[in-house]
Symmetry: C2
Subunit: 247 residues, 2 copies
């Protein structure tokens, strides 16, 4: 299955081999790789080298490493969340503004809403209804978990059936979640979002494409307006200082 090789960086080579095996379906999600000791034998390298390779695969999100009995290295479901998170943080530290974010949302989200209104199925509507109800519950309980708000948009993206669109929406919503967390938007804001989602849901349930598009556009603009206001009010603090000051 694997070949023992000697090239530039051995650990990199091993990373590649395993990555390719995953891409080719030779290793499927859920599969467990051999334990370190066995890999040492198969690749004919030492433990440190194996560990560097596995760690690399881990940060790239290809495998999940668990320790303890019945632990080991497991091939994960392919998702780019891990890598994406590393860079969304970076983008937030760049000269990325709320306006930039909203501009892109305003291009995509109304389109997605309109398309969803045409393609939406009963089970999609049910899922959206559940999400809205859940949002309302957590909001009343004061536990205000804003993740549900973004789940609403993700579901709409999924209805589009376009993998690229789904990916971009995920990406954008991820950026927005980070932004909201930093700003610490309050309950009054959440209520507005909830009501907007209700209006969009209503339009979708009636298969009203135009209505869905218009409500979504209003919603995106409202979110921008409110977040910008919060941003002006509060001084946007930066993250705490790194322990890395002694360089």
């Amino acid at each position: 299955m694997f070949q023992s090789v000697k090239l530039n960086k051995i650990s990199e080579n091993i990373t590649e081999q395993i990555r390719e095996a995953i891409f080719h379906g030779k290793l499927k999600p859920g599969d467990r790789l051999p334990i370190e000791k066995e890999l040492m034998g198969k690749f004919e390298v030492s433990k440190g080298t194996i560990r560097e390779a596995l760690r690399s695969l881990e940060v790239l999100g290809f495998v999940d490493i668990r320790k303890g009995a019945s632990g080991g290295t497991f091939v994960t479901e392919v998702d780019m969340n891990r890598v994406r998170d590393y860079f969304t943080n970076y983008l937030l530290f760049q000269n990325l503004s709320l306006t930039n974010l909203s501009e892109v949302r305003l291009i995509l989200e109304p389109y997605i809403a309109e398309k969803a209104a045409r393609l939406i199925k009963r089970e999609d509507l049910k899922k959206l209804e559940e999400i809205v109800e859940q949002s309302e519950d957590t909001l009343n309980k004061g536990t205000s978990n804003k993740i549900e708000f973004h789940e609403f948009h993700r579901i709409l993206g999924n209805i589009s059936g376009n993998p690229i669109l789904i990916f971009i929406v995920d990406f954008i919503e991820g950026l927005l979640i980070d932004t909201k967390n930093r700003l610490g938007a309050g309950n009054d804001f959440s209520i507005k979002v909830l009501n907007a989602h209700k209006r969009i849901y209503k339009a979708l349930s009636k298969r009203d494409a135009r209505g869905a598009r218009i409500e979504m556009a209003k919603h995106v603009r409202e979110v921008e307006r409110n977040l910008v206001a919060i941003q002006k009010e509060r001084r946007v603090g930066h993250y705490s200082r790194s322990v890395f000051g002694h360089f």
Copy 2:
């Protein structure tokens, strides 16, 4: 709400600290990190741990590790290309179709063209003109380097001034380049693209926002139509895992 980050792994913790230092600008591109031995002292961990951390940062594209005398670990210019490639790989891994690609282009590109028509400056026009001329030259010489076509779209994206939009356009054009290469679109196709770009350029040079938008929309549709036709001819199916079918 906030991820209770329990980093049970020391190496991960170190990766995180250095990453934050880079994001905060404490470590700038070109900076060299201390050598492994010193890092062992500063973080009070062993060499293996340090190396796992540095290797992680390397695969994420944050640092470049060079060996030999006056080698070491250097902070790299943060380029989104690295991440973009991972995203691209991920999407090609899905059953992505030409229609999916064109749908997203049709949402974004006309918008970008319209916005560009309003914001465009003399030097931007000059750059576009050069690109168009270059395309024509290489086309006449038969060397037909299609990269210039995509550069045209990238320049337009840059005029928007929105980092996210720029990122997405780069990403989409990257996917398209891959598609074209796979299909092997011929010269007749390239001529159509060139003419479309000329029409868009003309609209832009007149600051005709509506014209730019319309021409761009026509262009995107034409590209889709032609590529789909080629795809049918050659019976090249959707993307599949065979994309990675070269060991």
